[in-house]
């Protein structure tokens, strides 16, 4: 029964992709994004020696304050949706969608697990290439995966810029301008810093990069490309517009490009930011932390300790989630520790410091790759 369903899915990739997308987005990303709003509140509270939200209750159930984000969501949905006079109504409505859609779409290229061998889920699989049919645990596997990501990520900038422009508010316009200049500048650096990893692993396809990293932890991107890891992580945080790069928002300065948005439209911007952090964590995991790879775990199990295929896959998916959680935690830690940059300093950092460094990284990587391949 299970096998036939899996077989059906392996054959009808479109259905499978839809299913995976639903699973990934509704089952993982959205809950995690909502939870991370809670985590942010609780974690920042812990860092600041306080307790954070803990009082919302349904009857005796309090769940350490998790219910607060439920309350936030319900409240926002039913809050009055103010559309100020003189705004460009179409763009004003379009902007939140433009902000959230690209980030959700880009999850399509993120591999969240190895290929599932259809028909052998309960037995030990030593060589996954011998499977007769596989379901990749990745929504869309395309050769230009990372380029796809960059293309879509650069679309996200329209959301913020449009929001700033359409709001008919000078502060939001300034915020939108800051956002567009910041995101465009840092995209360059992001792309270039990943170039080294592409050279090392010889592919643009995320799953191929993960597979190439293998279960040997020393072969992971963070060790083969340590400089690129720091550069990419920095640039990508800048791309998510979170502190210390939250200039478009810059709470005490500009208040943000979404200053005129209320209710759920604001909620979407709010959520998009958190989804972006998760997505950033997913990309960093894929390229630098071995994706779904578990140290020492091959497709047959830990060395001579064999595990059924399903257990291996599950373990890998769980470890993948844990890596993402860790990175989200790290981002929150950074967000609540560091002060904010100034726009000109941000540009200086991006163009004059990160960009040359990432070029240097490419040159060094290329030289090493050339040397190791014996000049062939």
């Amino acid at each position: 029964m299970t096998d036939s369903i899996l077989m059906f899915l392996a054959e009808h990739t479109a259905v499978a992709a839809l299913l995976k997308l639903v699973l990934l987005v509704l089952g993982f990303v959205m809950p995690l994004a909502s939870l991370s709003t809670w985590a942010e509140r609780r974690q920042s509270a812990m860092m600041q020696d306080r307790l954070g939200p803990n009082r919302a209750n349904i009857g005796p159930v309090k769940l350490w304050g998790i219910l607060h984000f439920v309350a936030d969501a319900i409240k926002m949905m039913f809050k009055e949706d103010v559309v100020p006079a003189k705004v460009d109504r179409f763009l004003f409505a379009l902007a939140p969608v433009m902000a959230i859609a690209p980030v959700l779409i880009t999850f399509a290229v993120v591999p969240f697990g190895p290929d599932l061998c259809v028909g052998q889920v309960l037995s030990v699989v030593t060589d996954p290439t011998t499977c007769k049919a596989t379901i990749p645990l990745q929504v869309a596997r395309m050769d230009v995966g990372m380029l796809f990501y960059f293309a879509l990520a650069s679309l996200a900038v329209y959301g913020t810029t449009l929001a700033g422009w359409a709001s008919y508010n000078k502060w939001s316009l300034l915020g939108g301008l800051r956002a567009s200049s910041q995101m465009m500048s840092y995209e360059v650096c992001m792309g270039l810093s990943l170039m080294g990893a592409f050279l090392v692993y010889g592919s643009l396809e995320p799953n191929a990069i993960v597979t190439a990293q293998g279960s040997n932890i020393l072969n992971w991107g963070i060790f083969t490309q340590p400089l690129a890891f720091v550069l990419f992580f920095t640039a990508a945080i800048a791309e998510t517009k979170r502190a210390p790069f939250d200039l478009p928002e810059g709470e005490p300065e500009l208040i943000g490009y979404f200053v005129e948005y209320s209710g759920m439209r604001f909620g979407i911007f709010f959520l998009a930011e958190f989804i972006e952090t998760i997505f950033l964590a997913a990309i960093v995991t894929t390229v630098f932390l071995g994706g779904w790879q578990v140290p020492g775990l091959d497709s047959s199990g830990f060395g001579s300790f064999h595990l059924p295929h399903l257990a291996v896959v599950l373990l890998q998916v769980v470890v993948w989630s844990l890596k993402i959680l860790l990175l989200c935690w790290l981002q929150l830690l950074i967000r609540w520790t560091l002060p904010r940059f100034r726009p000109d300093q941000l540009m200086r950092l991006g163009w004059k410091q990160l960009l040359p460094l990432s070029l240097l990284n490419i040159i060094i990587t290329a030289a090493v790759v050339l040397w190791r391949s014996g000049g062939k």
Binding site: S44, M47, Q48, D49, R50, K86, Y168, K170, W171, L174, A243, P244, D246, L247, G250, E251, P252, E253, L254, I255, W336, T337, L338, P339, R340, F341, R342, P343, D344, Q345
Partner: protein, 449 residues
């Protein structure tokens, strides 16, 4: 650039969809009619090189007038800054204060000298006890009892004043840290402030608006174990301060935000009437506590921290160091404090003891006279100055011999410092306004009075 100039220079090459200069001038384009007009005198403010640059560019940029405040998250008090910006560069600004004008001076004319104390609490509401002390010293100077103040009262005034100074600087530093994005150090500093407030509450009965000092001394003696608790609290606070320092002073991002921003020379600062930490940041070691030692400040050893550049970082570091120096003063004051009365024993200024009021008719009559008529202060005028949280806090009091001040003027350091904001932020970015404003530490109550 004014719109007329645009059409004169004949810039035809406009991007698609951009309004033409004529349209801008007539306001005919949809959505542009409410655009603020460029201040006509802006052209005269640009120098020749900038003017050329403006005329050379292909796409015309229009300076934008934008309102910062009066309800803006970064303005400590309430202030409105009308900015003319070009991109994010401030070309011109008009700082408007007065949103918190609560008429202290008028209220003081209608209150007895004792009733003024609650009002002084709310002048610089971050360090109320320093204002209390300043006002009390002014009235005492006018009555002529400054030299007869009980020694213990003088020490207590020093102690509470320095605690207040610490809380003032903590709030200022914490708030500026928050405004550049460091929310965590802000809350840690507020935590320390909370410890100090708890101590002050034990002593005075209120957390923030203490109304503790009285003419001729202070209203209550130190409670039991106050000194020990203060010692312990200061000890705890030091470690938190060190942590905050490691997050801010040594952090490159924070330094980038503060270093070299809004620097000012000592001459300019003196011309602008700066005092306190702001003046000291420019390297002038002027501190009223050293310059004109009131109370018992001449008995303590402490240094006056000064800066070298006069930028925001110096103002930050001077305040941070002043917290340490205040702790040093507190240490010495706690060991030196003698026993004795805390209120001058003079029926003309000090209320009689409660027991005496309850049981003797003379005290009862004196009590009634003091409450209903107030303290009779001899006619005359006096200017007395102390070191407040933000600088020289002066009270100019004119008395006509009755129990109420005829005129009570406050020389408020923040008011005087705030007027230099326009000068400081000229040419800076919008992002620089916030730390600059934070380090000027404009406190609405004191600035607008």
């Amino acid at each position: 650039m004014s719109t007329t100039t645009q059409s004169k220079t004949g810039m035809k090459k406009l991007a698609f969809g951009m309004p033409t200069p004529d349209e801008i001038a007539s306001g005919g384009v949809h959505g542009l009619s409410t655009r603020p007009k460029v201040p006509p005198d802006l052209m005269s403010k640009l120098n020749a090189a900038e003017l050329e640059e403006v005329e050379d560019i292909e796409l015309p940029t229009e300076p934008m007038t934008i309102n910062m405040g009066p309800s803006h998250p970064a303005t400590h008090g309430t202030v409105r800054i009308v900015l003319t910006i070009d991109g994010e560069t401030v070309r011109d600004s008009d700082v408007q204060v007065g949103y918190l004008h609560r008429c202290f001076e008028k209220e003081a004319e209608h209150a007895t000298y004792t009733q003024v104390f609650p009002y002084t609490d709310r002048l610089n509401y971050v360090s109320p006890l320093l204002n209390n002390v300043g006002f009390a010293l002014a009235v005492e100077k006018l009555i002529g009892i400054v030299d007869r103040l009980p020694e213990r009262a003088q020490y207590i005034r020093v102690i509470v004043g320095e605690i207040s100074r610490i809380t003032d600087h903590l709030t200022c530093l914490g708030a500026s840290a928050m405004e550049v994005g460091g929310f965590t150090p802000f809350l840690w500093m507020i935590k320390v402030r909370e410890w100090l407030w708890e101590l002050l509450e034990e002593l005075t009965g209120a957390r923030l608006t203490h109304s503790y000092v009285r003419i001729g001394g202070v209203s209550q003696d130190l409670p039991e174990h106050f000194i020990d608790k203060l010692r312990a609290t200061l000890h705890k606070s030091t470690s938190v301060l060190t942590e905050c320092e490691s997050l801010l002073v040594k952090n490159r991002i924070f330094r980038d935000r503060m270093d070299g921003v809004a620097a000012i020379s000592a001459e300019d600062a003196i011309g602008l009437g700066w005092t306190g930490p702001c003046l000291r940041s420019t390297g002038v070691p002027y501190d009223v506590r050293k310059d004109h030692p009131y109370l018992v400040y001449d008995r303590f050893e402490f240094d006056v921290p000064v800066g070298s550049v006069g930028d925001n970082y110096d103002r930050f570091a001077v305040r941070l160091e002043e917290i340490r120096q205040s702790m040093r003063i507190l240490d010495q004051a706690m060991t030196q404090i003698p026993a004795g009365p805390v209120l001058l024993d003079d029926p003309r200024v000090a209320m009689p003891a409660k027991n005496a009021v309850y049981n003797t008719i003379e005290s009862m009559i004196g009590h009634f006279k003091l409450i209903i008529d107030g303290i009779k202060v001899p006619a005359g005028e006096v200017y007395s100055y102390t070191e407040g949280g933000n600088g020289e806090l002066g009270f100019y009091i004119v008395s006509d011999g009755t129990g109420r001040p005829y005129r009570c003027h406050v020389r408020s350091p923040s008011f005087i410092a705030t007027q230099s904001m326009s000068k400081l932020i000229l040419g800076a970015g919008i992002a620089d306004i916030i730390p600059t404003f934070g380090m000027i530490n404009m406190i609405g109550g004191e600035c607008d009075r």
